[in-house]
């Protein structure tokens, strides 16, 4: 079976203006949302306390709220998690109670409501830890980008490295933007997923660049635009097949992996889709705009080496 019966000759670079407008539009919306709405940060970053309690039967949220405010947790945020038997409680810090002990009080309140309530999960993150994590997360992303910049710069050429990083930043901003736009909770696993998106999207871009480099060296005639276009066409079915297999497993993770892993799977799904698009349109246009030409990629040959090869 093949995706395309015949060789494709899609003029990707001819539509690069259109793609650029689309990309810029997406980035503006993403950044706008991040600035205006911000991210719905999880307690990993904000600090706070979260308790997940399992009940033997479906439980009404108002009764949970009532019980909690009777025990002095008037400002607790309560919601169902996954099923109606699961309740997620977010607690604000209290004046005279040690933060690490809040969860114990809340859980014993829930046991007062239903004696066989089951403590499924507690997450408490102190404010100092949350701040550090936010900082470390930002730094990690920066280090990953720098590491990639250096590797691609060494293996290809600096313009490819810049192009790859532009594509990555494009993907990261749009992925985070979608989390902001729909106010999906952004927690530690989601941050990890965004870093994995960097890895994945780069994987795609590198494959495309590899072919571009090969074709620049092989094809004697044709300008940069034609060569980039035919490289994109040659790698098109690979790009789509790999994205497809990755999406298949991610969908499996999203639907069967459980509630906790939802955000993580979602970030990767968005990242893979955007990454596939960017490795075709953004990465290619970026190097074309920076004016990569055949001469830049010809392997440097020593003069006497060529003489030796002559019989």
């Amino acid at each position: 079976m093949q995706l395309f019966k015949r060789e494709t000759h899609i003029d990707f670079m001819g539509k690069r203006k259109l793609a650029m407008i689309l990309s810029i539009l997406l980035i503006v919306v993403a950044l706008g949302s991040i600035v205006a709405k911000g991210l719905n940060l999880g307690i990993d970053f904000t600090g706070g306390t979260l308790v997940e309690v399992g009940f033997p039967a479906a439980v009404e949220l108002p009764s949970v709220r009532e019980k909690l405010s009777a025990e002095g947790f008037g400002d607790a945020v309560v919601q169902h998690f996954g099923t109606s038997r699961d309740v997620l409680i977010r607690l604000a810090p209290q004046e005279d109670v040690e933060s690490a002990e809040l969860s114990d009080h809340a859980f014993s309140a829930m046991q007062g409501l239903e004696s066989s309530a089951d403590l499924r999960r507690v997450e408490f993150v102190g404010p100092q830890v949350g701040d550090e994590l936010t900082e470390d997360g930002g730094l990690a992303m920066l280090y990953a980008l720098i590491g990639i910049l250096i590797y691609v710069g060494l293996r290809f050429e600096y313009r490819f490295a810049v192009g790859a990083v532009i594509a990555l930043i494009h993907d990261v901003i749009i992925t985070i933007g979608i989390f902001s736009l729909f106010q999906v909770e952004f927690d530690l696993p989601v941050l990890a997923a965004v870093l994995a998106v960097i890895g994945y999207s780069l994987n795609d871009t590198i494959v495309v660049y590899d072919r571009i480099r090969e074709n620049f060296r092989k094809i004697r005639k044709g300008d940069s635009k034609t060569i980039i276009n035919s490289s994109l066409n040659q790698t098109l079915s690979r790009t789509l097949v790999t994205s497809m297999t990755t999406l298949l497993v991610l969908l499996s993770l999203f639907f069967f992996g459980g509630e906790i892993i939802h955000g993580f799977a979602l970030a990767l799904i968005v990242g893979v889709v955007v990454g596939t698009y960017s490795s075709i349109y953004v990465a290619g246009s970026a190097i074309l705009m920076m004016g990569v030409s055949k001469a830049d990629l010809m392997p440097v040959k020593k003069e006497d080496e060529t003489a030796d090869e002559m019989p």
């Binding site: 079976m1 060789e7 002990e101 102190g126 696993p189 990755t246 497993v249 499996s252 906790i260």
Partner: protein, 617 residues
């Protein structure tokens, strides 16, 4: 012709065999078990085993087997009900000097465990348990060190009869003030001689002649290191006393300690024990002055007003007889005379000497035990984290000194046996060097842990099945070969995780799922190349050869960059994220082997030895 040299085929065969072997332990069931370990001078031997056997027989509980391993007695049960039921009879049979912990043991055949094969080490989010991150207050540790120095300097100068005006602390230094330069210089020399690690500085400020003694950078590093070490030791003692199998207590960064306790059911108790720093002080009661006057604000100098647990005011002498860090051992029990719960305490040499002198001089007078608990919390004040330290001091017992005593004695006046037990535990663990605070907690209940395992396993299997079907349909024979490699890759990842005993977490499982999706990428690259070569008119054999060769550098480049992302993730991440990074990195490495070398070996076997007209790709 495409043929692999024999060594390459052998390599593939050996890797497959070893991978299968070391992944194997993961499919065996785990027995609910109990781990019995000895405390202090108790030992585990065959006699212990016989006692446990007898106790189980008496209660009608059958065990699946028993063994002694690394000084621990492991008892296996068929059901977790039996495991729970066995808790009390075993505790009764062995007494206080043994602790029991519930755990799971893999039911491996002997030859497999003989090879060192073990199942994967599951993270807390999969097996359930408590993770706490503890922050050691280094500023307080430094303060305490300076406090010690200033009191030592005071004693030294008095002993040498050098008169000073004042000794105080200022920032990270001790300042001693003198009347004139001569005395100052003299003192400066004496102090410098005695405490070589202090950095001495002489300052003249108008009429004042000062010596500034500050901690050298290496000294303050040493203080911090010591504070961290002592806290880790203390935490280890406390945790061991809790009876948890496979506890993890580890330094993280330069001021944090991670404590992970798998399978613990009662987070409240753990936090109470870990978070509190408790110590005792023994003081004489002030019987010469009136308590009422003190309550009304006229506290006599040399005394201080305390309260008992029921709120009753007591007047105690300021002078401390013995403090908590002079306690070497403590155990709970019952007072022989009154039958009340009690804690018997042993003191070190200095403490014993002082206790003997004081009790000798004060027979018949009341002595009080003051329980001091330090807690630290961080609150947000105007958006800034601010540390609040609170100190609870209460008199837990007050009793007349009946006779002089020294090294060993008893404290009574506790509310319950439980309290006596906990107090003994706190005392035995000793005084902590610096205040600590819990800054992060993650607890996963056992039901959620099992659910995470089930859902994780399910999503891996469904994802794998989808990709396999897709590949088989899309690339036919070559797709099936890629499927074989994919399954092999999964087995290799599991084998490596088991072998390295790296922690498998829920994000780790997600990493495996992601690798399944991405591992076929190498094969997709190769197969697409082969198709291209065929389209360009190459022969089938040449196409295979060229396909593998041309895709190789692309695969390496693409995977190295993903590896960079995985390494960054690993170095920055905490527990669960590290798990994701590990499986992602391992998956990338093994997939390069299975997708390039592995599939080539199989393709060569299928097509390599004969003339082929067309390839099913």
């Amino acid at each position: 012709m495409n043929r692999y040299p024999l060594w390459k085929n052998l390599l593939v065969a050996v890797v497959v065999l070893l991978g299968g072997l070391y992944a194997l332990p993961n499919i065996f069931d785990q027995d609910p078990s109990m781990e019995v370990s000895a405390q202090r001078d108790a030992v585990i031997d065959l006699a212990t085993q016989t006692r446990v056997e007898a106790a189980l027989q008496k209660s009608g509980i059958s065990s699946k087997g028993m063994s002694i391993n690394n000084g621990k007695l492991l008892v296996r049960f068929t059901t977790s009900e039996d495991q729970l039921k066995a808790m009390d009879p075993i505790a009764a049979a062995l007494g206080e000097n043994y602790t029991q912990a519930l755990t799971l043991l893999p039911d491996l055949p002997g030859w497999l465990s003989g090879l060192g094969a073990e199942p994967m080490y599951l993270g807390l989010d999969l097996r359930g348990g408590i993770h706490v991150l503890i922050d050691v207050d280094m500023e307080a540790a430094l303060e305490q060190a300076l406090e010690r120095y200033s009191s030592d300097i005071r004693t030294l100068l008095r002993g040498e009869k050098v008169r000073y005006v004042r000794i105080g602390r200022e920032g990270e230094a001790v300042i001693v003030k003198f009347n004139n330069a001569v005395k100052r210089d003299e003192a400066s020399e004496i102090i410098g001689e005695e405490f070589r690690s202090l950095v001495m500085e002489d300052l003249d400020q108008g009429e004042d002649f000062l010596v500034k003694a500050s901690l050298s950078p290496s000294d303050s590093r040493e203080v911090k290191k010591f504070a961290l070490q002592q806290n880790i030791t203390t935490l280890r003692n406390r945790v061991n006393a809790l009876g948890v199998s496979e506890p993890l207590i580890q330094q993280q960064g330069d001021r944090r300690i991670v404590v992970q306790l798998p399978g613990v059911q009662d987070p409240a108790k753990v936090k109470d024990l870990i978070g509190a720093t408790a110590t005792l002080e023994y003081r004489l009661a002030d019987t010469e002055h009136s308590v009422e006057d003190a309550v009304n604000g006229r506290v006599p100098p040399g005394s201080r007003l305390y309260r008992e647990r029921d709120g009753q005011p007591v007047l105690l002498k300021k002078q401390v007889i013995v403090t908590g860090d002079q306690i070497v051992d403590a155990s709970s029990g019952f007072d022989q005379r009154s039958g009340q719960p009690s804690v018997s305490v042993s003191l070190d040499g200095i403490g014993a000497k002082r206790m003997r002198r004081m009790t000798n001089e004060n027979v018949g007078k009341p002595m009080a035990v003051v329980f001091i608990e330090n807690r630290t919390t961080t609150r947000m004040v105007n958006g800034q984290p601010e540390k609040v330290r609170s100190k609870v001091e209460e008199v837990i017992s007050i009793a007349n000194i009946l006779e002089p005593f020294g090294r060993r004695f008893q404290t009574t006046g506790l509310d319950s046996t439980e309290e006596a037990h906990d107090l003994a535990l706190l005392l035995r663990a000793g005084a902590l060097a610096a205040p600590i605070e819990i800054v992060e907690e993650r607890t996963i209940g056992p039901s959620l842990g099992q659910e995470n395992i089930d859902q994780g396993f399910q999503s891996v299997m469904i994802g794998l099945a989808l990709v396999m079907v897709f590949m088989a349909v899309y690339y036919r024979v070559f797709g099936l070969v890629a499927d074989l490699a994919l399954a092999m890759n999964l087995i290799l990842v599991v084998a490596l995780l088991s072998l390295l005993q790296a922690t498998l977490t829920l994000p780790g499982i997600a990493g495996i799922v992601l690798t399944v999706g991405m591992a076929v990428d190498a094969n997709v690259l190769i197969f697409e190349r082969i198709r291209e070569e065929i389209k360009n008119g190459s022969t089938p054999q040449a196409s295979i050869q060229a396909g593998y060769e041309k895709a190789f550098s692309t695969i390496i480049d693409a995977n190295v960059t993903t590896l960079i992302a995985a390494i960054v993730l690993f170095s920055f991440g905490t527990g669960p994220i590290k798990g994701f990074a590990i499986t992602l990195a391992l998956g990338i490495l093994t997939s390069m082997f299975t997708a390039i070398v592995g599939t080539r070996a199989v393709i060569n076997l299928i097509y390599g030895r004969k003339r082929v007209k067309s390839l099913a790709v």
